[in-house]
Amino acid sequence: MPGPISHSKIEPDSFTPFRRCSSSASCKIEVPMMQKKTVPEMQVIAKRMRREIIEMIGAAKSGHPGGSLSAVELVVTLYFNEMRHDPANPKWADRDRFILSKGHAAPVLYAAMAESGYTPLDQLNTLRKLGSIYQGHPDVRFIPSLEASTGSLGEGVSLALGMALAARLNASPSRTYVMLGDGEIQEGQVWESAMFGAFHKVDNVVAIVDYNGIQLDGFVKDIMEVKPLADKWRAFGWHAIEINGHDIPAIQAAFQEAAGTKGVPTAIIAHTIKGKGVSFMENNPKFHGTAPTPDEVKLALQELQ
């Protein structure tokens, strides 16, 4: 794995907009992709990422631990086993892409990108500080190797579908993965994009719903019930798979099933535990958007040895 890319200080104002990329053909350089990790290796990385998440949010004194922790195994499996990508060549045209539609869970993405070598590990604890590349929500102005700026819920599936249709036009094997919250799918745009994805048969997109049962203000069942979740995706024409979102082999199997599913996009309903891995955060709505105190950080890190 190549070392971290060095990041010069970026001013958001000086950011230049995306240039038109040349066609995929000319980008088809041979690149050494990320090496696939084994399940035990990924479990080790997952635990390390949980610690990084706790530490960076603790250092920032604000942020969203719950939905970052629930998504760890899903993100680890994507970055270290499923996706074809190359941190040394982040703009490789045929890479697979990941969009964190639930942008508030940025810490899990930052941890995965840093662990993969896209961004410096030693700056994770600058999260949310002025000038840090680790902005409160993913921001391509600061990390160009991010696939998308997110933070306003409901938009990621549309983004993924646009990227995937571009890949189809370019005859590229690129696949796009997008992760949503279970509260997030209350946004109507999600269903607009679901209908669109089925209509255009965008089978190179996989939507992953982090079904942790909790949103910002409390339990999903109390704020706005989304059940039956798989039925909704099926009625909108998607292939839906339900799995335990902390079970890495189950996640791998689901991705494989998605890859084999032709003519329709796939939705993976991943049953997870919000705050997973830290006893006092698990299934606790308080830790949707509250940073752990220094004492809580210490306690959590002990649990995550």
Partner: protein, 322 residues
């Protein structure tokens, strides 16, 4: 004008969003037709207080702001007084077509409250910051647009908004806000408050920038510059009489707001000035840019929204004034 006071201690009070949440409970007590709609942010918008006291009149909409706005419209058609609240950027931007066709066009009695306005929300960054909602809300014919500066004015204006028959948008902030007014201060929708009289230049400010304008005035007074400070808690309808008088009497106007200059209070004041009594003007606000993550104080400093920037704008204006 606040007649007796000439010094403001500006000690931190409640955030305007919190003052809103508390006033809303009081409004709910006074009027049982008040109902509240929330989009999974009731703790942040403080509508949780209303939820707690009036669970039957609180309607959880989930993360679906467009539907929330139109649900509120349905309540209004049926004679209720709905208040729908969320972060400003989400309720106004995701609900804009609903605000236009479904609320403003039939002039429904709907109250929309945006919290976490401006860049002073800090660490969450631009996706959660609302720097354009004045432009959007003011482009809804018939809407009243309020932008209170402190807890006292927020409380009074929430009640005024409920009493007003017709659509209202209220812009509130996340941060604790310096207290400007005595508790007994009276407010009228559409009537700006002259906080400090002055003759060389006028600073028209709204929201958090009112306190910065007061601080700027204090510094400028020491330099011998006489600054009039006016709180435009109502952005629409615009108090054109007060603007015209300021233009005529001081000949120079600075407008300061925590908003994009494009479409904010400033351009509206500029239009009123050009139509009545042209004079030199300067603008303090965001210059066609989104901000970033950081502490509220750092961001207000970096993006030029503190008293220093008001002072600089006053100097520029005075240099141009003939």
């Amino acid at each position: 004008m606040i007649p007796t006071k000439t010094k403001f201690d500006l000690k931190l009070g409640m955030a305007t969003r919190e003052a809103f949440g508390k006033a809303l409970v009081e409004a709910g007590r006074r009027n049982k037709d008040v109902v509240v709609c929330d989009a999974d942010l009731s703790k942040s918008t403080y509508t949780s207080l209303f939820h707690h006291e009036f669970p039957d009149r609180f309607f959880s909409c989930g993360i679906a702001e467009a539907n929330m706005v139109a649900i509120a419209a349905g309540f209004a058609y049926a004679g209720k007084i709905p208040v729908a609240a969320s972060f400003s950027c989400f309720v106004v931007n995701k609900g804009f077509e609903q605000l236009r066709v479904t609320v403003a066009y039939p002039k429904l009695n709907v109250k929309i409250v945006g919290t976490h306005s401006g860049i002073s929300i800090g660490e969450d960054g631009p996706s959660q910051m609302s720097v354009e909602e004045t432009a959007l809300a003011c482009s809804l014919p018939g809407f009243v647009v309020l932008s209170p500066a402190d807890e006292v004015s927020t409380t009074a204006l929430v009640h005024a908004a409920i009493d007003h028959v017709g659509p209202v948008f209220i812009r509130t902030g996340r941060m604790k806000a310096p207290v400007i007014y005595p508790a007994e201060q009276k407010f009228e929708i559409g009537k700006a408050v002259e906080l400090i009289d002055g003759s060389d230049v006028t600073v028209i400010a709204t929201g958090l920038l009112v306190a910065e304008a007061i601080r700027a005035q204090e510094a400028l007074e020491a330099e011998g510059i006489s600054v009039r400070v006016i709180d435009f808690h109502t952005v629409k309808p615009l108090d054109r009489e007060t603007i015209t008088r300021a233009a005529a009497e001081t000949g120079a106007i600075v407008v300061a707001e925590e908003h994009l200059i494009d479409g904010g209070l400033g351009v509206r004041v500029a239009q009123a000035v050009a139509e009545t009594h042209p004079c030199v003007m300067e603008f303090v606000g965001l210059h066609d840019t989104y901000a970033e993550s950081g502490s509220p104080e750092q961001l207000l400093d970096k993006y030029g929204l503190i008293s220093r920037d008001v002072i600089a704008a006053v100097h520029r204006a005075l240099a141009r004034k003939k």
